[in-house]
Amino acid sequence: MGLRRYLASKTGWYLGALVVAVVLNFLLPRLIPGNPVDVIVSGLGQGGLSSEAQRQIYEQFMKEFGLDQPMWNQFVTYITSIFQGNLGKSFAFYPTPVTDLIAQSLPFTLVLQIPAILLGWIIGNVLGAVAAYKGGAWDKSVFTTSLVFNSMPYYCLSIILLYVLAVMLGWFPPGGAYSLGNSPEWSMAFFTDALQYWWLPFISLLLINIGGQAVGMRSMAIYELGSDYVNYSRSLGIGDAKMTTYIFRNAMLPQITGLALSIGTMVGGALITELVFSYPGMGTLLFNAIAANDYPVVQAVTLIITVAVLVANYMVEVLYGFIDPRIRASKSGEK
């Protein structure tokens, strides 16, 4: 398959996935009997509001969110507002625009997740390759430790780290993203303060990402060790160090697609990690929105996660196309 064909087909698939994801995101909350506004308003009813007041709020919300329109119209409105960067207004913090809430949370999630995913991927792959090549005690310890971290649910490790390092030992602050009384701003003082809170959730995510990648890399590298080219290179007198680079290069390729596949899982796991550390990112926003039946916020958060994961996967797959010579080579029409 030529590089151009490869890219075209990947683009096609991801566009298709995006369309499906947007439709699902729109449709799923609307498929329930009644509608979200019912849920909200009946919740208010329990708060002792009169039925007349309930009806008024109901109608206002129905109008505000366009729920009195036919489904098709709602969808068109939904799509056009997404393209205008308008994600609606929050139920819970009415009339705060959803985009404002997201703008407050997203940066926290990004500074936590991007370094954890990238660094975890790099360290994990190196460790896995070394374990596979060295074998023996190295392999045993790295593999077993990695497997433990890999199989630990994100939040389980987070809880244990939080309890041991923050609550028991007091090395880190036990939650939040910055000290009370401080507020997010572009100042050195804020950053040094926030950094203290950042470490613990970061380490927690990093360890798990390292574990997962190391386990994957180790099995890929062991596969590669048995291949013909390793044997042949050995017969030519090529040294161990050089050979490790060959193995690493080949074992790396499937790991790149592995990264694409695991980004979705990682993001999901990281959401809960934020919860454990009361880190005010998207995960905490989502948690609060779910608790408050704040549909516009939930929908917006899921939409952003979906788009981010799709874009990240797409970029990884494009990168893969450029890296793997078997795909790249066919660009110039060679055999």
Partner: protein, 342 residues
């Protein structure tokens, strides 16, 4: 006889089976190759010929262990055993430079993410750290030009080459350092007859140009061997049963197994049209538990009582060695072939 290029002494190699038992795949084999000649190593699958090649190329890897054996070559005496802890370090400098391997099925012999040129540079540098990239590539392209191959293949990845081209490219890489001995393990088996012929002609040209000073050519294909080799060694169940000049072996087999193998060859000739061959009854033995005495005796038409009790020693008739009780009792008599004609 001309000066000896290499001599492998008392080579024994075992496979460690999952059960914990060791299966001897090559059992106390001694092999000699005169300077400038091509030695064919023939036998059917599982006879240990590839294992022998692997041991000689010093690349035995678990579960294969070389338990004993030395290789005299080029004034060196190398301990082939892979049991000492430093075996890998001891063997590495010899690999590719003294003994080189041309592997079976070059299909995956080159890392798919490596350009041929990168491998060329790495091979040269592995033996001489001071070689520059340009020097290494010059040498490779000179070699390619000499062999009338296109130099652009250096810029390719392995998957961009056809099967025949890949096999010849691997041959060039294997011989880049002018090894004393090249071990060619079934290099032609996966090729069409025309590519097969091209590769054989290239190997002969390389021997003529003294790029390497001797070749051990391993294959089950006797017609190919008769075309290429000066000498033949026939292996059965981990042992060499007969060696000698190719003509002598083909025309005057002294071991019943050699004779049966030769009779099973089906050439497109008038003779094949009319002959009826019986083949060899039974199957090769389990190497974990080989038959007593001569390992071939359960399948041998000439077996006598002594064959099942005592292992025959290597006998010599001039330049022709064989291990067979029947042949000992019938000096200079060719083994009768089991062939009938219509």
């Amino acid at each position: 006889m001309t000066k000896s290029l290499m001599r492998a002494n008392n080579l024994t190699a075992v496979y460690a089976a999952d059960s914990g038992q060791d299966v001897p795949a090559v059992d106390n084999v001694t092999l000699e190759l005169p300077e400038g000649q091509i030695l064919g190593l023939a036998g059917e699958s599982g006879c240990g010929k590839t294992t022998l090649g692997t041991a000689l190329a010093m690349i035995a890897n678990p579960p294969l262990y070389v338990v004993a054996g030395t290789l005299e070559i080029d004034g060196n005496e190398i301990n082939l055993s892979t049991l000492p802890k430093n075996a890998n370090q001891v063997h590495r400098p010899y690999r590719g430079e003294t003994v080189s391997l041309l592997p079976q099925g070059a299909m995956n012999a080159i890392s798919p993410t490596l350009r041929i040129r990168d491998l060329v540079v790495d091979v040269m540098r592995a033996h001489n750290g001071s070689v520059t990239k340009a020097d290494a590539l010059d040498r490779a392209s000179d070699r390619l030009k000499m062999l009338e191959m296109p130099t652009r293949v250096l810029d390719s990845y392995a998957h961009q080459l056809s099967g025949g081209m890949k096999q010849r490219m691997v041959t060039v890489i294997s011989t880049l350092l002018n090894p004393a001995l090249l071990i060619a393990d079934e290099p032609t088996s996966a090729l069409d007859v025309s590519s097969q012929k091209a590769l054989i002609e290239m190997l002969l040209a390389m021997v003529e140009a003294k790029i390497m000073r001797g070749v051990i050519f391993i294959t089950h294909d006797l017609p190919v061997l008769s075309m290429v080799t000066d000498r033949l060694a026939i292996m059965y169940a981990g042992k060499v049963v007969e060696t000698g000049r190719t003509e002598d072996l083909v025309n005057n087999a002294r071991h019943p197994y050699t004779a049966a193998l030769l009779s099973s060859v089906l050439d497109p000739t008038e003779d094949t049209r009319t002959k009826h061959v019986l083949g060899i009854p039974g199957s090769p033995p389990n190497l974990g538990n080989p038959p007593s005495g001569c390992r071939f005796h359960p399948r041998c038409k000439f077996a006598m009582d002594v064959c099942s009790t005592t292992e025959p020693k290597m006998l010599s008739e001039g330049d022709h060695d064989f291990a067979c009780w029947w042949a000992k009792e019938h000096p200079r008599e060719t083994i009768p072939m089991e062939v009938t004609h219509a």
